[in-house]
Subunit: 307 residues, 4 copies
């Protein structure tokens, strides 16, 4: 059983791996993070254990992708969503020599890459961005059972100012008719959702809801339709850890989503929700110490879905 | 509970979907298959139920990929294998606009695409191809508990004669030093492994061993090291159904591998081994009726690993 | 010798090919063009002959690319320009299997593709877009010896409104630091330069200056440094006709630049400046009747530089 | 006027640039070349001047591409040749973001890349490779007016042994039906044609025939149909110097073809045939000192076709 002593010992043991990574530096705000931080929360629906820098706030970044995807599924339904975004971790036909030979960029491959996530953001309902971000925040607060979750304005402005690659994606998506309306507005919403601040406890609570197929066992409420929670989990497994997803599926085997803010949200089906924070990233953009810690926990408690 | 009546009714119901697909036609031998065929076997380690054209022999084709991967892992160990072949279903960095921007073909992306599978075949131990194919056949017979499994020589010769795309891959792999020795010999072995004939019962028995992490509950033997069975299952989930793997993971959620001979081998962890045969394929190369049948069974018996 | 009778007969003969093409339809303004139009002007520095719809105004579109390139070379010098934009019609290493294997998009390949041309526009000197477009207009009026050349505001606004693919390129160029300052401002300038209206006589006069290495024989003035005129001619030959440039180099062999407004500007070195207008385009974006007419003239008067 | 003293001084001056390059090392035979070598021959149809290591034999390598192309054109006619190989130095549609977005490898882009040249070799007439290589040798001896031109067997065997990338291309071409018959035989012919030994005088004589549109002014014979010589010249200009062709067209402007044996064959239309030998190559595969020497000569004697 996971308990406080176990988590404390794990944090102590894995903290030294933080020196192997670097904090994200593409925006000034993220550079301010403390490279040596490491925190974790584990929640089984009854008890929660946390250790290390678990109560430090960090921006959610790409961890928002499966969350906003579920809200968009609720808003628009499966058909509409997957008409505009694909489901494939790989677009390779079985005999492709190299990948773009036959690839034609008609829609983003899946909702976990930026192009897909921007398209998904554009599908959130609301009369304006204020209503839309409030709906996203409301959904996240509900899942995390925490009203004190907000957008970090400085990070948002920093993302907005420097986000030219995403802006390029946005106008490309507009050109191929994946997004409608103002590209700048869609990007603003996307940058806002990435700038939401959470801590590991928030991630642990949200991931348990996902692990339990959208059901909150404490309150007896179905917060997310079962099918959509399953879809989120599937994408987390097949493409949740950038281009280390395959490696992570073998080594850890828990549906997880990472972000360059240092967070990882892991949903061990019907068992645990886990939130990790470790801003020292490897070259793929994943928390170095966080990944290793999850590998250890998965092995110690047989959490892989491939077991 | 899955029983004979259930399988019979499923076969009857789904047989009509066979008209939506086409049998593979890239070699004359495969064109001879009967488009209307549909068969299934389900095995839980105690009882086995089969229905439809379950006892018809067909060539294993790409279903051999995870099997030969496990034998290569036994032969060479993890480090050697993954030095030469990657683990990622997608090679996309999170912000890639289109896929080959930064991709450099130094090694195949994973063992389920042809380039990876050819590399894996080259790593099977044996003093010559005869010994190597006998070792592969021995491994498959052991897992399927069936000595009557052989290479179909006509299919092999047909594959060999027409396999210029694979030959092109082979020489490319030679050039980038992923394979050593004679390319033609490696391809011969690869074409032979693809031409092994099985039926759905064979697939069901093999997939149960994989589902049970390499363990044969009847005999108490660990036929495959646990870790390697897990690796096979992971690749089956993330890239086992060609470029429908993501869709299939959401709809079915059972680690599975398909082949253009019409076979699908599905391993529902700790539950069932399932073998399917339906040579009418969709454009992605997967059995049309087979996939739909698996979706139904997965839902009826809660087999998704994301549940 | 080219004379009035020759041009009249050519126009008459080739007019029927206009039905093989379509006018550009990506913006409403261009759709208004008359598909059956065909005009030509030929100038040898002493005499000018024109025939057909030679005095109809059309937007210059991509024909502006070599012109603005020469102005940018005058403004910034060769080193600065080619630090930001490449010179290669093809980026393929000699043994590439397919093209993006090793390609990394650090700068546009050449100034004749949109990405390169947008970068070039960003390098025109001026305190604001008004000054910049006036400098471009001034340069074009000087070369065409015609003060009555202006931007078509409706076309400009239409380009601006629908130019999301170019906008995507613009933000990509900003991200990789090929362009500085406001992307929207650079795009505005680019859209304005594309919307300049000319007729075939203007094109003929400009192309003779280029043909004569920047020298105006009538006035004795060197309007463009010789080296820069040569650079423009080289790009016109190697990549002036979109992805029909290779075919056109063989069939016609005159350095030329086409635009989707239907114009083609052809510089037969030390002989003739030719302007063509024929808005019915083929699928590559080149004037159908215009190309054929140039092929005929090139053969009749031995104008190919490969002769 | 080019004379002996001029060439001697040029060789002396440019010899020092040989230290900036490296001899080709992909096969042992080529590694034996002397990095410091530099030679040149210039022929105007009446007088020939040679200097430096002009009489050293080296393998023709890619310089054979335009020569074999002309023979194939004579054998098969234009329609057949360009049905199987393209004419474009660049396959980019004008608004491509990056190059393979829409590219589908149905045929090689042009005859100067390996894929195209292998396809071209497969179209040479002859009942077997012996007859075919003898026809190629005969054609080259005729153009060079030198019977003492042969295949270097050691280089041929070395190319054949290590040519896996070309072998991969060959089987790919077979798969897409660009080449018929035995891939190994086609590759043997291709490797033989690359292994033909020449010196700079041979190159100078051949290039003058091409410069003069296939006509031998001394004998009054039309050795190559005019149109085919023009086609060769056009490809030499647009893609003759690997991916430095654009740069070279601007700096030198003489249709030229280089090879990794260190040779460059340059055809200044209606003026000179130039042969250069300098085995120290830059990273693109072109002779460092050779290119610089040609740039100097082109400027000193106004040889650019864009003048």
């Amino acid at each position: 059983m996971i308990d406080q002593a176990y988590l404390d010992s794990i944090i102590k043991e894995y903290k030294r791996y933080t020196i192997e990574g670097q904090v994200a530096d593409y925006i000034p705000e993220l550079k301010k993070m403390n490279r040596g931080d490491l925190g974790i929360s584990v929640y089984d629906g009854e008890k929660v254990f946390s250790s290390g820098n678990w109560d430090k706030k960090f921006t959610i970044q790409s961890v928002s992708k499966p969350l906003v995807l579920m809200l968009a599924l609720i808003d628009q339904g499966e058909d509409k969503i997957f008409e505009l975004v694909g489901k494939e971790p790989t677009g390779d036909p079985f005999n492709s020599m190299i990948r773009l030979e036959t690839y034609t960029f008609k829609k983003p491959l899946n909702p976990m890459i930026n192009a897909g996530a921007i398209t998904i953001s554009s599908l959130i309902k609301g009369k304006d961005n204020e209503e839309k971000i409030n709906r996203i925040l409301g959904f996240i607060r509900l899942l995390a059972d925490n009203e004190d979750i907000h957008v970090n304005k400085d990070v948002f402005l920093s993302e907005k100012e420097t986000g030219n690659r995403n802006r390029s994606l946005g106008y490309f998506l507009k050109d191929i008719r994946c997004i409608e309306g103002s590209v700048e507005e869609v990007l603003d919403l996307y940058f806002m959702q990435c700038s939401i601040e959470v801590n590991t406890l928030d991630l642990a609570k949200m991931s348990l809801i996902i692990a339990n197929d959208g059901f909150n066992k404490q309150t007896g409420e179905q917060l997310i339709p079962k099918k959509y929670a399953k879809i989120a989990k599937t994408f987390m497994l097949t493409c949740g850890m950038y281009d280390e997803s395959g490696q992570f599926a073998i080594d850890v085997g828990i549906p997880s989503k990472s972000g360059v803010g240092g967070g990882i949200m892991s949903s061990a089906p019907n068992q645990y929700g886990i939130g990790v924070y470790g801003p020292a990233l490897n070259l793929k953009g994943n928390s170095v110490a966080g990944m290793r810690m999850l590998e250890r926990i998965s092995k110690d408690f047989d959490m892989s879905i491939f077991l």
